[in-house]
Amino acid sequence: MAIQVRSLNELGQAKFVAWLSNPIDGPPKSLLEDDSVTGVVDGYKIDLDRKFSTSYELGQYLAKDVFVVVPDRLALLDNHGMWAWISLAFIESLVKRGGGGLGKPLAKPHYVMESPRLGYRLIARTAWDLVSLHGEAANVALGSAKSPWGEMAEQMTARQEIYAHRSFWSVAQALYAKPDGSVKKGVTSQRSKEARRDPTNLAGLGGVRRLPFTFKQFERTYNLRRMTASQITGLLPNEYRKWRAHAEE
């Protein structure tokens, strides 16, 4: 049943954080409609019975069914109490997966705004924002069925210069996503110190950790914003060859 979206006040957020720190009992869902710790956010309705197998699905639901017309994106992103409330509302979809029963929560910044620096880790907030900004391409970062916040999500959202860069997201999707939407193996591998010393060692080359730096380099000489994903992938250096070959299959 759809109800009005709400926002947790300071006391409500403190109670939610207390549970995240010590999740012995079930999540404090009674807070969701408790007038003493919540306030109504006008204009938006949400179905609390929904479950999501990936954070991309959550982002899609929020972008297409809940926050459909948003006059001020920054104001919505700034409503930290509301994102904490949404995190609590869908907590079953946002905890560790695998095993039986409700998994354990991830670190607190994935559910409540602890500092603006870590704001990108607030899963529900970032999922909505990425789907709104990049549509289907957001799936490459948020489509993990193993975890609500996988390494792809971390790598692709931590750098502000690529967070909102449309060309980057379409290129990342073309290079790293499989046809079924899952991410190819080895994409997030880090290039080790040993590999960096050995020119024949290709480990970590062309992965998502390196793509932002390559983009930054190419932006100095190309207008990447006017180029299609296939034009950009055709431009990328040899280290991306293996991912590019898969993309063109």
């Binding site: 001020d72 920054l74 502000q160 909102a164 860069h165 190309y222 914003r225």
Partner: protein, 265 residues
Amino acid sequence: MGQITRTTNPTGLKKIDKRHFVVRAQDDGKGGRVFWLQSFDFEAAKLDSSVQMGCIAHAGSNEEYFDLGPVSSFIRTPFSLSGLAADKPLKFRFIFNRCDESLLVGYVDGVRALDEAGALGSSLVDIEPASLRGIAWRLVLPEGTGTGEKPNVLVERALFPTAISAAGHSWFGVLVMPEVMRQIAMAIAEDPSALDDSESWVAPWVDFIEALGAELPVRFEEEDSQAKQAWAEEVVARFAAKGVFEHHMRRALAEMGGSEPWPSK
């Protein structure tokens, strides 16, 4: 075999002079900002009339891209910057490419809107009205090292709607600018070698410090914070002794004493 150095230009990319641009920015009345390119002298910039122009607006670490069309008939209507934070300095990168290719033929970084930079474009410090949520002012030192970067004094828009209104205000001069100078001097003292690096934002400060009559900083021992502070205080003292600050101080004292503040020059 030739080497690529800072001074070679293997891509043939042309750096366009900022003086050819007039960018304007304004509040949109809803807590955000709009901007428009008022003029761009493509002939002075030696660009063909058909070259396409794009613009990337930066505010803090957020950015937004806008296609402006051909340089000879670019779009002059305002663009909304509602996707960018309103409390961060606003800067523009303009890029140029031919109609049928994406390879750039020219660029310029760090262009500021006239209304935000006021008449201070040629100074070493920018002043920019912003929504600071209860804080009167804040200094933002450049994050990068490029020469286009400048320290930026953000001022609460409700107090100072334009850069000129802040720069001409005696209390701003008396209370804020010496502290701005001190923070910049401390940043320079942290890495005096940057004064010799022509590509650093610090380099243009050599002439300024010398004009104040202060010694250029020597390389301080890393832990010697007292020596760094002492040098910074010396710079501030000389800075505050400049005629314009004596003028601000006289006005502030007159105001404190109950006299009508003098009209701004």
